[in-house]
Structures are given as structure tokens and as C-alpha cells.
Amino acid sequence: MNELFINWIANTPGYAAPYALAALGLILCERAGVLNLTAEGIMLVGALSGVGATLTMGGYPQLAIIIAMIMASLVSTLFATMTVLLRVNQVIAGLAMVFFCQGLTALLGNLFEWKNQPITGIGRIDVWPLSEIPVIGHIFFSQDLIVFLIIPIFYLVNRVLTRSMVGLRLRAVGESPEASDAAGINVTAYRFLTVMAGSALVGLAGAYISVASTKIWVDGVTAGRGWIALALVIFARWRPWRALLGALLFGAIESAMPRIAAAGIKVPQYFMLMLPYVVTLGVMIWVAWSKRGGATDEPGALGQPHVREERR
């Protein structure tokens, strides 16, 4: 039982990582005022690119992950063009992007024969000798590269967001594009580039799923995690560290699922698989319940396109 518990905790970060990274990317976009529903699609792009690059290069999964981030960022320019430049309804554009990416990745995965091809992917790194410490070593010092990088990435993004001129402008653009415009900030450029940067993180989340977790590409490998990440953003009130906390919670649940079955507790398999979605719904209801009538901390201009010379 004890062994099982340590195993569960030690596996949690691996399950939490895609939620955390995707939510962080989404927080960036939404703090700049772009309602980003594309996560599920962009994660698929990242996942396919990660596997595709690994297979094409015959290895180098770390490099493949970087390529996946770049690809995700490039595909997101289509979304940025629609929402930021063409002021298309952000919900419609986001959904169209998800379905576009689902179709595109399924098509390319088939055409290039990347589907169902196992890869080596990235593995655990043991930080010797710390990894030999009982319990703690297994939990904290035997993880993969990306998990080790998550804290620095969060620190960096949070710092840029809250403690830099770029972050100040980015948040201003999301809170009040009119005020930002009057202050001489190029709202369009800030939003466009933020979508690209945020999507790179979402792509990283997707690549992590295929290159570090499943180590294989199948159609729809992300299985709705993008939507859960979106719910996490609301739970986190658009704050990075809270999102990491939420991601760990989801990671813990997902990591517990196979272990509950292994422990001999009888729960029908498909009810088990429902769990993450049901918990997400539960969390959304809880958040809504607890903040009834109060402030949600939602960025003031979330989902609103900006046109300067608008007149009624």
C-alpha cells in the first residue's frame, strides 16, 4: 500500500504536466484578451509534430519537442489572424481551429504513416545521488526533463507577466485595449504575438503527451485535455501558480485511476475514465458557487475584438 502511494505521488507530475503547460499558455492568451478555445486542437498539433519529428529524425526527442512548439505556434497564427486581425468571433474561430487541427492531424498522421508507430520518447532522469533518497528521491528527483523544467517555466512566465514592461502592456491590452491604445501600445501586435507564444506552450503540452507519456501518435491522443485546461484557467482565476496547483490536482486524479484498479477496488472501467471530466465539472460548479456575485478576476476585455475607430 505504501509502495502504491509513493508510486501514485511520483507519477502525478507526469500527468499534471500537460494540464499545467496548456493552462499556462491559455492564461497568457487570455490575459491579453484573446479567448482561446483552440487548446484541444493546438495540443494535437504539438503531439503529432513531436512524434513526427522524432520519427523523421530517428530520435532526438528533446529537439522534436522544440519543433512541436514551433509548429504549434505557426498553426496558431491562423487563429491569431482570424481573431486579432480579422476580428472574427473568438468562439467560432476557436472551435473552427479545434476541428481544423483535428482534421489536419488525423490526415497528416495517416498520410505520413506516423500513426500507431511507437517511439522511444523522453525518459526519466535520475538526479543521482538525490534520487536514491528513500521516498523523496523517487518523487522529486526521478522525473523527466520537462517536469523538471516546469517550475522554471512557470517562474519565468509569471515574472514576465507581473514584473516586466512587456507583461504590463500585455495585461493592459487584455484589461482595456482602449486605454492601451491611447498609451501608444500596438494592441494588435501584442495580441498576435501573445497568441503565438501561448500556443507554443500549449503545443509543448501536446508534445509532452505524445513524446513523454503515450510515446505514440493516435488520432485524438489528447482526449479532451485541452478542454480541461480551459476549465483550469477559470479555476485558477487567470493566475499561473494557481493553475499549477489545479493541474497537480488533476494529475493526482488521473494518476490514481490505474492504481485504484490495481489496488483491487472495483469501479466500472468507463466510470473511471469519466472521472477527470466529472471532476472538472465539479470544480467549475464549485468555483461558480463560491464566487456568486463576486469578482471572477476575468480579464476585462476577454473575447472582445479591438477596433479603434468604432462609432455607434
Binding site: 472574427v88 482534421g103 482526449a223 468507463y270
Partner: protein, 368 residues
């Protein structure tokens, strides 16, 4: 007051003079003629079809066969035509479902989950032989609508009472419904006769009858479309829906019962999706199969979006999507093009139409 209060330094900070070139200004249009609107729309749909054709050719379909596959084969071959007409019915229903919800400002992205619950409701009636044989079919349709309504009511109430974002809640509920379907098909409802994970086959009187060798699903969908058209265009309810869609704040202030209108619309949307679920289950295999609802969510949104939530236009768009769907199946068979292509083409067309709205709503003003 000290000298400090204002800065007296002349400030020619940016002395570089701008070239007197051309500058583009973006303006919101006050109005646009319907002809220009139609022209922009047609132009961008053509662009979308063009891009899709290029991708198809790149994926290995000979250019010469494209028109053949998409138009000639689909409409002249009687088997294909029958498939198009049958397949159109659930598309009409999901399109109506999405548009009714969108008209009440409710992003119902749970169409697939509601279809699944519709299928489950109908199949429950079938498995437990509820009601006399003569009335079995209407009972099944009713059960499909009722189950789907109950399912969507959760998201509807969460939005109205707690302002829970329905985009995310309805989407997540699709995954819950799908896993519940799997539970049934791999568990209690597994077909005992062949052991496959699908439900037992419906009896003949539990399936929609054919009319003149065409499926009865289409008349059902067309009558539904007329009903929805009447509801949104001529009734008080439809009139109120327009206000709720335009601005729920204004609607509330002028005395319209916004919550009631929204809830009824959401329930109606769910019922339509549920019936679509039954139509697919009954018409295709005559039983529930694992992924029978796949792909209808996006098609429903696409149809609602392209038809601008107009029920009559939705029928036409649904038939076009049906053609695309059936040609996609042929492409899969003849050229090994993955079926995902159909989804990709739909997405490309939506993206192009969305882009055309930019030119419909804005004007680019050139200043010298």
C-alpha cells in the same frame, strides 16, 4: 505651485517626418447592401473550396476526378443519392439544434452527448419493450428527446443559476456521455447474440419506415425544420428569442422573461439533438454502435453558422454537408483518403466564411 508641475522642455523627440504615403484605416460599417454581402460570402466559400481541392489533390486524388467524385457520382448514382438524402436528415436536425441554442445565446457544444443520450433513451425503450408495437416508434422518439433534454438541462441550469460557462460544461459532458455509452455497450447492453460491443438490433417496427424507397428520416427532419421556422419567425417566443440573442440585458429590461426563453430554447435544442441521435441509430445499423455520434458536433455548428441560424437555409446547407460527407466516404474507399479530410474541409470553409464577415462588417479606408 512649483516649477516642477509642468515640463517646459520642448520635445521634438521624434523629428523624423513621415512620408506622405498611403495609410489604411479600419472602420466599422454602418450598413452594407445584401448583394455585396452575398458576393463576399460566395467569394470566400469559393476560396475555401479551392483550398480544399488543393489539399485533396496533394493528398492523392487526381484533379480530374474531383468534380466527378463530389458532384456527378454523388448525385447520379442512386445508392449514393439515397445515402445523401438519408444522411441529410440528422444533419438538418443537429443544424437546427445548434441554431436554436445559438439564437438564445447558448453555445451548445454538447450536441454529440445529447445525441448519445437520445440514442440511449430510444434503445432503452426498445430493449425493455415498453409500449405497444404500434406506438413503439413515437415512444422511442419521445424518449430520445426527453433523455437528451434532461442531459442538456444540467448545463442550461448551471449557466442560468451559477453562470457556469456552457462552452466548457457542454463539451466536457460529451466525454461523460461517451464513456457512459461505452459502459453500456461493453456491459449490460452488449449484444448477446454476437457478443460485439453494440446494442441488440431494433425490431423492424422500431425503425423509421421508408417512403418510396427513401428513408423516412428526411420527411421527419423537414417537418421539424418547418416547425422550427414557424417558431422562430412567427410566434411570440421567436420574437422574444431575437431580443435575447441581440442583448439579454436589453431583453430583460424591456420585460422579456430571459431565463425562461433561454431554458426553453436550450431544452428544444437538446431535444432536436436527441432525435438526431435516434435517427442515426435507427437509420444506419438499427442499433447503438460505439461512435455513432462522431463528427456531428462540428457539422451542427457549421450548418448553424453558415445558415445564420435560419431553419430553411439550414436545410439547404445540411444537404450540402451531407453530399460532402458521402463523397468523403467514397474518397476513403477509392483513394484511401482518411475520413478526417471531411472534417478538415468543413473547418476550412468555416474559417473562410468567418473571414468574409470581416469584410462584411468592416471597411478599409485608404487615406493619402
Amino acid at each position: 505651485m512649483s516649477e516642477d508641475a509642468i515640463s517646459t522642455v520642448p520635445n521634438p523627440a521624434t523629428s523624423k517626418r513621415r512620408l506622405h504615403g498611403i495609410r489604411f484605416n479600419l472602420e466599422v460599417r454602418r450598413d452594407i447592401s445584401p448583394w455585396w454581402q452575398a458576393a463576399y460570402l460566395a467569394g470566400f466559400i469559393a476560396l475555401g473550396i479551392g483550398i480544399s481541392a488543393i489539399i485533396l489533390i496533394w493528398a492523392g486524388v487526381p484533379a480530374g476526378d474531383l468534380i466527378d467524385q463530389f458532384l456527378v457520382e454523388t448525385l447520379t448514382d442512386s445508392d449514393n443519392l439515397r445515402s445523401v438524402l438519408f444522411q441529410g436528415a440528422p444533419f438538418i436536425l443537429v443544424g437546427l439544434s445548434a441554431s436554436v441554442a445559438f439564437r438564445a445565446r447558448f453555445w451548445n457544444l454538447g450536441l454529440e452527448g445529447q445525441m448519445i443520450w437520445g440514442g440511449i433513451g430510444a434503445t432503452f425503450i426498445s430493449i425493455h419493450h415498453i409500449g405497444p408495437e404500434a406506438l413503439r416508434l413515437p415512444i422511442m422518439i419521445f424518449a430520445a428527446a426527453a433523455c437528451a433534454m434532461a442531459w442538456v438541462a444540467i448545463a442550461g441550469q448551471l449557466k442560468l443559476k451559477l453562470a457556469v460557462n456552457e462552452i466548457i460544461s457542454t463539451l466536457l459532458m460529451n466525454y461523460v456521455a461517451l464513456n457512459f455509452l461505452y459502459h453500456l455497450l461493453y456491459g449490460p447492453w452488449r449484444d448477446a447474440t454476437d457478443g460485439f460491443p453494440h446494442s441488440p438490433k431494433y425490431a423492424d417496427f422500431e425503425r423509421l419506415p421508408d417512403f418510396f424507397s427513401f428513408s423516412g428520416a428526411l420527411p421527419l427532419a423537414l417537418i421539424t425544420a418547418l416547425g422550427v421556422w414557424w417558431l422562430v419567425s412567427f410566434t411570440r417566443f421567436g420574437f422574444y428569442m431575437k431580443f435575447v440573442q441581440a442583448s439579454d440585458k436589453v431583453a430583460g429590461a424591456v420585460g422579456i422573461p430571459v431565463a425562461r426563453i433561454t431554458l426553453v430554447s436550450v431544452l428544444l435544442s437538446g431535444a432536436l439533438a436527441g432525435i438526431a441521435g435516434f435517427v442515426v441509430a435507427s437509420g444506419q445499423e438499427g442499433r447503438l454502435i460505439q461512435n455513432f455520434s462522431d463528427g456531428y458536433l462540428f457539422s451542427g455548428i457549421l450548418i448553424a453558422f453558415l445558415s445564420r441560424n435560419n431553419p430553411i437555409v439550414a436545410v439547404i446547407v445540411a444537404m450540402l454537408v451531407s453530399m460532402l460527407f458521402i463523397s468523403g466516404q467514397s474518397l476513403q474507399v477509392f483513394y484511401q483518403i482518411p475520413f478526417a479530410m471531411v472534417q478538415l474541409v468543413q473547418a476550412i470553409i468555416v474559417i473562410c466564411v468567418a473571414a468574409s464577415e470581416f469584410l462584411i462588417r468592416h471597411r478599409i479606408h485608404i487615406v493619402r
